[in-house]
Subunit: 328 residues, 2 copies
């Protein structure tokens, strides 16, 4: 059961997210009692359910879903969160993250072995939810493509690790895959199965992409900005050689300053990394990255205003404000 | 390109496997040149292509596939090998295997990070191949279920690690999931898409299951038998706490002898493990396991004889003989 109510002013949305939470709990059944309970906890009261919420609001653009549509929509909303969870679990293996969603990560608690298979296991739940809901629709192929793009983005990011000459375009392509693709899927799939017209589905897809890119840039900014509003260890990306937008922008302004530090690669000390962070701030990397995030946010807002007017559009505007305010 | 010709007396089958190999090569495209080439190598000349061969023979039971069917059958045969490869790559992370198919494993060459995402990436290729071929057939759901069962088997095996009181049934359930499910899928999917009748598809499913279980038991026997016919490090399973059938059977005969050694868990030395192996042999564990494998093999053979007679049935009999002779 989901303990928190994330959208106190939207009882319809809350009810839907509760159903998503229940369905996840029902699907996660493993032979290992401890693992099952860790996955259950992660599924039911750790996450913010942003992506299913996003999906649901797009599905409700032209009014609350009909009862006979509800079951399928809940399954689809769940599939999106399950796919997200699977990738989180695998990401934590890569990052050796001790924490996830404020509690110990699956890999820290059960080891990388269990984490690998747990992520895979969630992929199978995703696959199952999709096949039973989208089989006769274009979204079966779309889901396969999106999963492919997420992994291509992850692999692209890995291929670019420790590369000082990577381009913005390469960075944007990678985050478009690893983050924006899923937001884009949530939005367009929601619109489609909620009964929106073709134009609105296409618009939803673009909104998801722009929101996703802004969201990831803001997440990457957190690595360099002060404070610890999130549970994410500061400079985690830098330690693993992932050079995100603030650094890439600052390097463009003054690559000579960064070179001696970045040339150390995996041997960078904590002090070196703090120095890099300082240099990123001094050279305007965070500021410029924030400007770019703002550009994507503005684009998304303008597009949201083209959606059918109503309570869902208003809720969507609010959700995006919340999503895209994380670090400002 | 596949370098080896595995079935010199069956040009049709060889041609099909070559097409499978080519399709895999075409689908595996990553931003990381080195990784791509490692995956390509693994895909194209490392494997024995047993599962696609199995699929193809079942698809040809009533004659060679029609040209217009061929494309779909090649995609399906490829999907099976891709799913197999994905699970192999993730298995190697768990086992910390330095080798796979006689060459260095993805995780040994690129690290566990790349291995996690490479396996996931192959899952997306699998997903894509399946959605474009089975969307309007019962095999879309079947594929989702099989993938689910494979992971349930892997997780079940992990949950049973270091458990001295696990049952044969639990062992059989786990290998049924992690190994036999895929053989069963290959057989029944082949029969279905090759145009066989319902009875034959059901028979194929049972044949695949029995062959798969026998295959896995024989594989597990290799851990305890002498020599190194395979590239698999001897006693690998034991070191990671996976108690397979020969050990379970020997423990039933003389659990007191094993207890002091197995109680050491992860602290067992190489010498301890050699002692366990000796005890397994002395207490008839290998012999009894081989008898059980023989029972499954006989069952499979009897069932194969119920298939439509012809060159594919003959080839299938030969393939199973080869499959199930690995350690005898």
């Amino acid at each position: 059961m989901m303990k928190q109510t994330h959208f106190p002013h939207n009882p319809e949305l809350n009810r839907a997210l509760l159903a998503v939470s229940d369905l996840m709990a029902a699907r996660i059944k493993t032979k290992d009692g401890q693992l099952e309970s860790a996955l259950q906890k992660m599924a039911t009261n750790g996450g913010k359910f942003l992506r299913p919420a996003f999906f649901w609001l797009f599905a409700s653009l032209t009014g609350q879903p009909q009862p006979e549509q509800r079951d399928r929509l809940i399954k689809l909303a769940t599939s999106i969160e399950v796919l997200h969870m699977a990738t989180l679990i695998h990401d934590d293996i890569i990052d050796d993250s001790p924490e996830r969603r404020g509690r110990i990560s699956i890999q820290a608690e059960f080891g990388k072995d269990v984490a690998v298979y747990s992520g895979d296991y969630l992929f199978t739940i995703f696959f199952d939810l999709i096949t039973t809901t989208t089989a006769t629709t274009p979204f079966l192929t779309t889901n396969a493509q999106i999963m492919h793009r997420i992994l291509s983005g992850e692999l692209g990011q890995m291929a670019d690790r420790f590369k000082q000459d990577q381009t913005f375009l390469s960075y944007l392509r990678n985050i478009n895959g690893k983050t924006a693709a899923l937001f884009s899927l949530a939005a367009s799939e929601g619109a489609y199965f909620g009964g929106a017209d073709q134009r609105t589905v296409a618009l939803a897809k673009r909104i998801g992409q722009n929101v996703g890119i802004a969201f990831q840039i803001l997440d990457d900014i957190l690595d360099y900005s002060s404070g610890d509003q999130l549970n994410k260890p500061v400079l985690e990306d830098l330690a693993t050689g992932v050079y995100s937008l603030p650094l890439l922008l600052a390097m463009q302004a003054n690559s000579a300053a960064f070179k001696p530090l970045l040339d150390k690669g995996r041997l960078m000390s904590e002090a070196d990394m703090q120095l890099v962070r300082q240099l990123v701030l001094e050279n305007g990397g965070v500021e410029q990255a924030r400007q770019l995030a703002t550009a994507f946010t503005k684009k998304a807002k303008a597009e949201i205003n083209q959606l059918p007017a109503g309570s869902s559009r208003r809720a969507l505007t609010k959700l995006c404000q919340r999503l895209l305010k994380r670090s400002s």
